[in-house]
């Protein structure tokens, strides 16, 4: 499989990258780790005439802790996320999710920015970013702007990101130390996209769930923020009836396609099981104080 020909650019700064995008318009695509874009180019589902490689832009890499939030450069790889002890302690959900993405080789290349900006409903990080209420930092010809993960996704590969804009970083508010979280993913094999997956972030106060956020992967055209499912848990003790309500609310918004991973009803059902398991694990972790 040979992609269509393109001109290759490797700018050394974000400004140079933005200039290239301005110059070439929708003929240009940025490439981060390339593990979504290059397979699409090999299938000729994407054929940019200009490829703008962001690998030399140091400002797009790294993990910064600003006290109340963590800011992760868009070019930070999944492996960098797994290796960061500080991140594993502040927001353990990120490591847990990154470890479930593809395989070691892909995680060396694949970046957080590419995973969230590409708009592929099969990618795992968008749902996690919705559950964590992350904010995407974007730069473009009109300057910088911030977009909430929960409002970023419009459809498969269709996002709030406009031509000429580059996602530079992801800012994630640190959940309280006593929170619990989980990302539970059903997949057929290593490297496969999820049949369904669920991200849960919740806090407990005494024996009561003070807040809960739930989001789903790969059971719709985009990752899905299941607001009503989270609300069904708030104020409860995470008892069986409350969890059943959350599961019902989450499966209610799931609209998976029938594909090799199974028929629609099966995939909806798996989404419910993922939510049920993730709530149970997150609840246990919150009660254990981690």
């Amino acid at each position: 499989m040979i992609p269509a020909a393109f001109d290759y650019h490797r700018p050394a700064s974000l400004d140079d990258a933005l200039k290239l995008l301005a110059q070439h318009g929708d003929e240009a695509r940025v490439v981060a780790g390339g593990h979504s874009l290059i397979p699409m180019m090999k299938l000729r589902l994407a054929a940019p005439s200009h490829l703008v490689d962001l690998q030399d832009i140091a400002a797009l890499k790294g993990i910064k802790d600003s006290g109340g939030a963590v800011e992760i450069g868009a070019m930070t790889s999944q492996r960098d996320i797994i290796q960061s002890a500080a991140l594993a302690s502040a927001i353990p959900l990120l490591k847990e999710t990154a470890e479930q993405i593809a395989d070691p080789q892909v995680r060396y290349c694949g970046t957080l920015g590419g995973n969230v900006a590409n708009g592929d409903p099969g990618n795992d990080m968008p749902a996690v970013m919705m559950a964590l209420d992350a904010v995407y930092l974007v730069k473009g010809p009109g300057g910088a702007r911030e977009i909430k993960a929960r409002g970023f996704y419009h459809g498969a590969y269709a996002t709030e990101l406009k031509d000429g804009e580059i996602l530079t970083a992801i800012r994630i508010p640190k959940p309280p130390h006593s929170h619990g979280s989980a990302y539970v993913k059903q997949k057929r094999k290593i490297g496969d996209y999820a049949t369904a997956a669920a991200a849960v972030v919740l806090t407990m106060s005494g024996g009561t769930c003070a807040s809960a956020a739930i989001a789903l992967t790969n059971v719709g055209d985009t990752a899905l923020y299941a607001e009503a499912a989270g609300a069904a848990l708030a104020g409860t003790s995470l008892d069986a009836a409350a969890v059943a309500k959350a599961v019902e609310a989450a499966t209610g918004i799931a609209q998976p396609a029938k594909d090799a991973r199974g028929p629609v009803d099966f995939r909806k059902s798996v989404a419910g099981v993922m939510v049920w398991r993730a709530v149970e694990i997150a609840g246990r972790r919150a009660r254990a104080g981690r």
Binding site: P3, A5, Y8, R10, I38, K42, D53, P104, V106, G191
Partner: protein, 164 residues
């Protein structure tokens, strides 16, 4: 869309060539440099037969453009054995423990195992299995591959202790 000038270190030696940016690293290595150790298996970044080491990371060279690797350092299976032709401990242990049958996955498997042991010189069986999760083998059932990597880890750490 002309060819670009590519310069990189491959198995310790400087390499310069002209290549189209869209050339995949696996094709550059196999067809322009005649390094046919890394294999094209699935061509969809699943099987790991094309695994090479790029700048200290295991990558699937079917999913890297030669343009992205420009300026980098690549190690293929051809660069794993010692300069005098004697085999690397990993290669010896794959032979010793029957870590291969048809051999098609072996160059990628050993190149991946090489990086795994660089990062984690004493991996548990579970860590080995997670570490080679991106490399598929249709023959062995993985048991002997895991044994071979574990044995190589023992030999390498034993050597290190002896040298200290």
């Amino acid at each position: 869309m002309s060819k670009m000038h590519v310069k990189m270190t491959v198995n310790g030696g400087e390499v310069e060539a002209l290549a189209e940016p869209r050339t995949l690293l696996i094709h550059f290595l196999r067809e322009q440099l005649s390094l046919t150790g890394p294999h094209v298996g699935c061509d969809t970044s699943h099987c790991g037969a094309c695994t090479v080491d790029l700048n200290g990371k295991s990558v699937k060279s079917c999913t890297v453009f030669v343009a992205q690797a420009n300026g980098g350092a690549v190690t293929t299976i051809e660069g794993i054995a010692h300069a005098d032709g004697t085999l690397h401990v990993l290669q010896e242990m794959f032979r010793e423990h029957h870590g291969l049958q048809c051999g098609f996955c072996t160059p990628g498997m050993i190149t991946r195992a090489y990086r795994l042991l660089q990062e984690n010189p004493n991996p548990s069986e579970t860590e080995i299995r997670h570490g080679i999760a991106g490399n598929l083998c249709r023959c062995t059932g993985y048991q002997n591959i895991v044994k071979a990597i574990r044995a190589a880890a023992d030999q390498l750490s034993g050597k290190k202790e002896a040298a200290e």
